[in-house]
């Protein structure tokens, strides 16, 4: 599977502007983000997983400056994710610090998928103590308790079991490691 990546060289079709492009394995979902906005976007993080920036999380679908106004399209991870309102406010605040006005629009389609989390984001997530999402079929197996595949972010063992299908936030499930005995969050696969 091709993970989302940052491209810093301009595609031929848009010489003047550099876009940050996310691609998933089907190469159908792309996000259009102007390169000069990236440093600011990188400073805004998910309030519930502070090590992940909104870019790592893949929730920014578009960020384009038009007539001095930064227009951002944001997509929620889960419908009721309370972090979305906070992220929208944080985005506006971050741009106001460099004296730019930002408008944030919430878009639902296409629906967010865990495939949109960048590889860098997945690594940061693991270091933070949250196990990364498995593939869709493996995700089902572990959430039904049929297979042990989720890797404990503390000790690396896969001798882990599901404690609760629902964890501290809508996007996570709760697991426990049977080797080091630590409980930890697993980021559920969403496709």
């Amino acid at each position: 599977m091709v993970r989302p990546y940052f491209t810093l060289s301009a595609p031929d079709s848009c010489r003047d502007e550099v876009f940050l492009i996310y691609k998933n394995k089907l190469l159908t979902e792309t996000a259009k983000i102007q390169s000069h906005l990236i440093p600011v976007l990188k400073t805004v993080s998910d309030p519930e997983i502070p090590v992940l920036s909104v870019l790592d999380l893949g929730v920014i679908r578009e960020a384009i400056e038009e007539n001095g106004i930064v227009k951002i399209k944001l997509t929620p991870t889960y419908s009721g994710c309370p972090a979305m309102d906070v992220i929208a406010d944080d985005l506006k605040a971050a741009f106001s610090e460099i004296s730019k006005k930002a408008e944030v629009e919430l878009v639902l389609s296409p629906a967010w998928s865990t495939d949109w989390i960048s590889e860098e984001g997945l690594q940061k997530m693991e270091e933070y103590g949250i196990a990364r999402p498995l593939s869709e079929s493996h995700d089902k197996d572990v959430l039904l308790g049929e297979k042990k595949m989720v890797k404990c972010p503390q000790c690396g063992s896969t001798n882990t079991h599901l404690v609760s299908q629902f964890g501290s936030t809508a996007c996570k499930a709760l697991f426990k490691c049977d080797d080091c005995q630590e409980t930890f969050d697993y980021f559920k696969c969403l496709k």
Binding site: S79, G80, F166, K191
Partner: protein, 251 residues
């Protein structure tokens, strides 16, 4: 209102999610154990998120100066279009799970159809919702099986809940005026098309849970047309208290 039928149609779907979210929210901090407490409030949050998307859309097409909050908080009881099932109380955990299971099974089938609606907003909300609702259904049907096929007591309580709630299931498939018009236009879902499948699927899970499938002759209805059970007034009193007492308050 120009789009009155569409407006009413959106509320018919959204009010179910709102009222069930409110019911589940009552359990916050009161779940039978920590994991189920978190699960039920997570489900509540998903439903509330879906409700917001629907209400924002309804407010937009209403052509009036309305917000999602007006729709959620400032209607009178007769204007809420949720079915009777979702307003039933959290009598005991069996009822919480039974209500969730009977609703989730319906909800998932509805979302699966609604995602093909030519109305882009409804389709987008449904596509997003499917991922969440299938997870809800997995949770509630697992618990139905666990309780039904558990101890003598858990089986009796689960059966009691299913028996109590069963006669609200037929109303899920009662079609209001707005639903009929929208189904004819091809924008809405003709819910009658999956009624048979619903009862087959639900019965199958109940059997797997060693529970008996009720055989009611009479069913209750009215909620979708605004005629609710006595519980609804109490739910709204709780839900609307802040906005009624401090109009236009925000956090």
């Amino acid at each position: 209102m120009k789009n009155l039928n569409l407006y009413n149609y959106i509320l018919t779907i959204a009010d179910n999610s709102l009222i069930l979210a409110q019911r589940l929210g009552e359990l916050c901090g009161h779940g039978p154990n920590l994991e189920t407490d978190i699960a039920l409030t997570n489900i509540s949050l998903d439903l509330l998120g879906q409700t917001r998307s629907y209400y924002q859309y309804a407010a937009k097409i209403s052509g009036e100066d309305k917000t999602e909050d007006d729709i959620a908080f400032l209607r009178i009881e007769r204007e809420y279009k949720n079915c009777l099932l979702v307003e039933q109380p959290n009598t005991h955990f069996g009822h919480v799970i039974g209500r969730q299971f009977l609703f989730d099974s319906y909800h998932l089938m509805l979302m699966e159809k609604l995602q093909d609606s030519p109305d882009e907003t409804l389709a987008a909300i449904a596509k997003k919702g499917i991922k969440e609702v299938s997870y809800h259904k997995r949770f509630s049907s697992d618990w139905v099986k666990r309780l039904g096929d558990g101890t003598e007591e858990s089986n009796a309580k689960m059966q009691e809940a299913i028996d109590d709630l069963w006669h609200y299931t037929d109303e899920l498939f009662f079609m209001t005026e707005a639903e009929k018009v929208l189904a004819e236009d091809g924008i809405g879902v003709d819910i009658s098309t999956f009624k048979k499948k619903y009862y087959e699927e639900v019965s199958e899970i109940l059997k797997e849970a060693t529970l008996s499938v009720p055989e009611n002759k009479y069913f209750a209805k009215g909620g979708k047309e605004g005629v609710h059970t006595e519980y609804m007034g109490y739910i709204l009193a709780d839900l609307q208290y802040m906005q009624r007492t401090y109009p236009n308050m925000t956090w």
